[in-house]
Assembly symmetry: C2
Homo-oligomer: 331 residues x 2
DNA sequence: GCAACCATTGACAACGTTGACTATGGCAGG
DNA sequence: CCTGCCATAGTCAACGTTGTCAATGGTTGC
């Protein structure tokens, strides 16, 4: 691999002049520049960013640590948002999935630090309150889709309460009166907020709160959704709409509704949460749902990191991003 | 950030001795080593891998270029396999998604080269024959889930023909006689091979080939699957099993079958392809399907790259990995 | 008692680049 | 004609490591 010195020899200039050319320094005459560029092309020279990083003490590298990436479809959007934001500013991402293994998380952070990343995004696939991996505070960091209990680290999370509110309100605007909620497993961070939004919407619009219409699931999976929906349909009167706190629950609810010969949305409206594409877009009828802003969170996290690098300090903002409604055919 | 020299001063040794300690060189006395380790801990010293990489001329970095990552759920498994293989050997991955943009792909490869990655994996989300991005041959490279037309670059792809064969044979072993195929859109690389496997299985087991039972889809989506299945059910006699060339097609086929009041698998067996978890595991009944070996391809690609680094040369092997059967309830 | 060896440690250069500074030569202004 | 400036180019050190080689001092073997 050619170095700057070999290019310099080939172009009969000092290696410093080559450096100027590849850094677009204006203090090079046009003829010299052309000669150098010629030499660069014939030698197939490529600047060595490792050497440059060492000299300039900037790596233009950001770490992205994910608790895990494989079991939910959310990682890619988080990553894509982060990558788009980084790419635009000439930064690259070093991505590590630590598969919920604390040792691997710690190792990942240490390696990233040794590689002199200029910042770290720590992302979880479920909205959570986390204990940050050790040493992550040695670089500017942002938590995406999770936050530190004490709010000491900048974070970006979805506005679950508002999402729950808007989902419910959307059903109300369609004229629904008896709106059921099949919520997540009670332990989930999002469960409480989505419930709060649901309750606030009913109250705001003067609808009664009927405890019988509120159900929890054990694990938020379709089977669970099927059973809860089945129970709800036994109520008299049955609900005329159901807010499922995730799309997998909605998937199960669909089956329960169809098994009774009821039609969606004519007899009962269904709204989901998460916008898990493969489910929501492919269900028949396609599912209206609240999207989780994974792309936007990844994007925001990196932008915040880059802002911090510009400013020399990171502000521990706690940002919440809206969950937009994705209108399809189920309401 | 402390450097090796500051540690040396703190421990009253030369910086070379510190270097020996952090590299586990045995030629350091126990007392000196202890003193150095003390200094390292009190200063919070971390070796600077950029400097080390520059000196040793090894980056322990691999590039991973994906054509795109967001629209299919396959990227994460490819990435995870690659990362696991890399991590085990102390390598890190630099992942770039280029969103099917040739300019971005070229830019990604160039940046990776400038960062002195020791090898590059190029991965596509659909099994394809590709034109490699320019300059990728400047580093050892492996194609995952795709291959170069001329076979000049090492590649790892799924054995689609064998997958089609085994899917069909599995249905035959269940005693099915009238097995339909709803294939992918005809342009897909995998379509021809899965069809070939289907035909070979029928022939091998002495079953007749009935052209009416073989359908193509336009885009391989559920709606398409619904329509084709509906047509198939109009045949007399109707099929007693259907091999859907992907799980989304199977999802649509389920709806068509259920709409006629038929039961899966009692009246008709369904087998899918791709093992797209959110669909296959959550359909009712859960879908038996052939898994695409994305994790294994990612793993193999990186292992092959690392083997090449050990050997000093990369062999342009064209490996095909099996698509294992995932048994669930639909056959 | 001396040579030879071993264990331990250090000095120095090098990796490929950029930053700070210096040198050259031509030209404008007095 | 001289001074001073500007455009252009070059020299050298430094970034934080590791590789090569040399130095030191104590111990072993004869």
């Amino acid at each position: 691999m050619a170095t700057i010195k070999q290019v310099a020899d080939a172009a009969h200039v000092s290696f410093k002049t080559v450096s100027r050319v590849i850094n677009d320094d204006p203090n090079v005459s046009a003829t010299t520049r052309a000669r150098v560029i010629d030499a660069i092309n014939t030698l197939g020279y490529r600047p060595n960013l490792i050497a440059r990083n060492m000299r300039t003490r900037r790596s233009h590298l950001l770490g992205f640590v994910a608790d895990e990436i494989a079991t939910t479809p959310f990682a890619v959007n988080l990553i894509k948002g982060a990558q788009d934001a980084a790419w635009k500013r000439g930064f690259m991402l070093m991505i590590v999935s630590c598969d919920n293994d604390a040792a691997r998380a710690e190792g990942a952070v240490e390696t990233l630090l040794e590689r002199k990343v200029e910042g770290v995004v720590y992302a979880t696939m479920r909205h959570e309150v986390i204990v940050p991996p050790p040493h992550i505070d040695e670089a500017p960091s942002v938590f995406a889709n999770c936050r530190a209990e004490d709010g000491s680290v900048a974070s970006v999370t979805p506005n679950e309460e508002r999402g729950g509110f808007e989902a419910t309100e959307t059903l109300i605007h369609r004229g629904r009166q008896r709106i059921a909620l099949i919520n997540l497993e009670p332990g989930a961070t999002a469960a409480q907020a989505r419930l709060a939004g649901y309750l606030r919407a009913l109250t705001t619009h003067g609808l009664p709160i009927d405890e019988r219409r509120i159900r929890n699931t054990d694990d938020g999976q379709p089977d669970d959704g099927f059973r809860r929906m089945d129970e709800l349909l036994d109520l008299t009167p049955p609900p005329d709409a159901v807010f499922c706190a995730n799309d997998r629950i909605a998937m199960g609810a669909y089956d329960a509704i169809k098994a009774r010969g009821l039609r969606i949305p004519q007899d009962i409206s269904v709204i989901g949460f998460d916008n898990q594409e493969v489910i929501a877009a492919y269900l028949r009828p396609a599912l209206t749902t609240m999207a989780l802003p994974h792309y936007e969170m990844g994007y925001w996290a990196v932008e915040h990191l880059l802002r911090a690098l510009d400013n020399g300090a990171i502000s521990p903002e706690q940002v919440m991003l809206p969950c937009p409604l994705v209108r399809r055919a189920s309401i």
